[in-house]
Symmetry: C2
Subunit: 318 residues, 2 copies
């Protein structure tokens, strides 16, 4: 199978690319390296079945050309920064919604009709039903990030209906593990590296969040693609548990044998639009036989281990 991966140098995209190559597939990848790292492709780039295009999804002609000969598109490029959406309101719209439109148009141009999309649990807004299933009540958006991913999902679904595409849409919790370079575990680790005595926490630390280990996430995607055959297949991806931000801090400090003094920003939200309780009902994907291999605690520890062993990643993100 010839796979086209957008965001192929990102945390999830590069991990996916490696897995697809290991499974014997051909991979064409595209990345604009705004947050992606060449280092994440150091293995892939040596593989004769891998082709890299350095380009931006907002350049439609470039996407059309890079996608040539693909059988399936894994659209994983995104602005994944939820927190600073209101600082630059056009970024989510452009990098998530408009980029998805260009990917879909490039698919039409190349007659590719199968798309796998990395969506997010953020699109449920602050759902009252927890754990939140895929068929939860019509959500109200609370972030520009969520709104831009919802818009992308809608486009993909309309293309499925209008142009006979098949779509796999995955609503992720936060993903952790090797190559993780963004989010709260990363931020805490960086703070502790700079000053092992102090830790500043956004909100009150009681926010309840869910995480999934990257390889479990990829297993789930492959499982769904093998077993689900609808025109539009939508799956929540997470573990059957959640943790408090304070739990996560505890695991990180345990791993590093540190006991920093914690100060809190206060309030039940870390920032505007921060959802104080994210916990997805993942029974739909579990019914297909998938189950995660790591619990959240293990995922956090694996992440810290990776950051510890790869100090260059922190330099890249400074």
């Amino acid at each position: 199978m010839h796979c086209f991966v957008t965001g192929c140098a990102g945390f999830i995209g590069s991990s996916l690319t490696d897995r697809l190559l290991q499974a014997g597939h051909t991979v064409s990848g595209i990345d604009n390296f705004s947050t992606g790292l060449h280092e994440f492709l150091s293995s892939a780039i040596k593989n004769p079945h891998f082709t890299l295009t350095e380009g931006d999804l907002l350049d439609k002609a470039c996407v059309v050309s890079a996608m040539k000969n693909a059988d399936v598109v894994f659209h994983f490029a995104a602005n994944a920064d939820v927190r600073f959406g209101t600082d630059h309101p056009s970024r989510d719209l452009e990098q998530n919604t408009l980029a998805t439109f260009n990917v879909l148009e490039a698919m039409r141009a190349n007659d590719v009709r199968r798309i796998v999309f990395s969506s997010t649990g953020s699109i449920y807004g602050e759902c009252e039903i927890i754990p939140t299933p895929e068929h939860s009540p019509f959500p109200v958006q609370t972030s520009l990030y969520g709104a831009s991913k919802l818009a992308a999902e809608g486009l993909i679904q309309a293309y499925a209906e209008g142009f006979d595409f098949q779509a796999y849409i995955f609503r992720f919790v936060s993903i952790l593990g090797e190559r993780y370079t963004h989010g709260h575990v990363f931020d805490f680790y960086k703070q502790l590296l700079n000053d092992p005595e102090k830790l500043f926490v956004l909100g009150n630390g009681l926010q309840r969040k869910s995480y999934l280990y990257i390889q479990d996430c990829l297993d789930a995607i492959f499982c769904a693609m093998e077993h689900a055959r609808d025109k539009v297949n939508i799956f929540n991806l997470g573990t059957d548990e959640y943790c408090e931000v304070n739990d996560s801090i505890g695991w990180i400090c345990d791993y590093l044998s540190l006991a920093p003094a914690k100060t809190y920003g206060g309030g039940d939200r870390g920032w505007i639009g921060d959802n104080p309780f994210i916990f997805l009902d993942c029974s739909r994907i579990r019914k297909l036989g998938w189950q995660p291999s790591l619990r959240i605690r293990e995922g956090v520890q694996r992440t810290i281990q990776y950051l510890h062993q790869n100090p260059w990643v922190l330099e890249k993100r400074n």
Copy 2:
């Protein structure tokens, strides 16, 4: 109150403009006249409290300037053509989603924080719950039109959360009445004017649809703005009934005293993405005291009467 109305020369926008002026408000309107008609503003344009900007919502600077001094924005401009979405996939994205983004950014620039938005029942896709309430299950989009309006709703909601806007989002069924120049009643009337003996019907004529009379629609909007005070207020707008396309044809033919031979395109959908059964649960707006004055049959008859008395409208739309 100083109101800014986008799509002020359209069917709904011009009717709204007239009502706002009658109520003593100041109105600044913008329209690009792609489907709007100067004739619909013949009364408004004589009113010293009305200002018209001929401009496009994709020109952000123009929107920012036209919106100056507004207290509230009625964003009613849209590409309302559901049927031909797949013929030009970028049109809904640009005219509905991107235009909405520019309106929201212009609001930030002008420090306007109250928006009224014309959304659509189409965003429910083919919901299994009928009549469909606002909190129906998370929908799957079946048209580019629906997807583009869903994206616009999401943006508005995210702005409400991120920038402390107040939003009124109305999910309309099809609107009928004076100045109606688009949709199945218009199409049937035009066909019968050309040849009173024959009528071609898309689908099998059994599609069940809902309609609302324009003045009832505007009454509902004013009622909601007076009584609903949440950050994001979402209301379905329709009557508590639906009709078959064949019923509608019967009323039109009765009114015109015609008995054309009908031929059917066949199938339970008129086109790709056509929803064979649209019926919204409007109990939320009814609880605020609103009720429609006309039933669907009367709305259809009022529409035919208008088209009959205003033959110039048909010439404009040829």
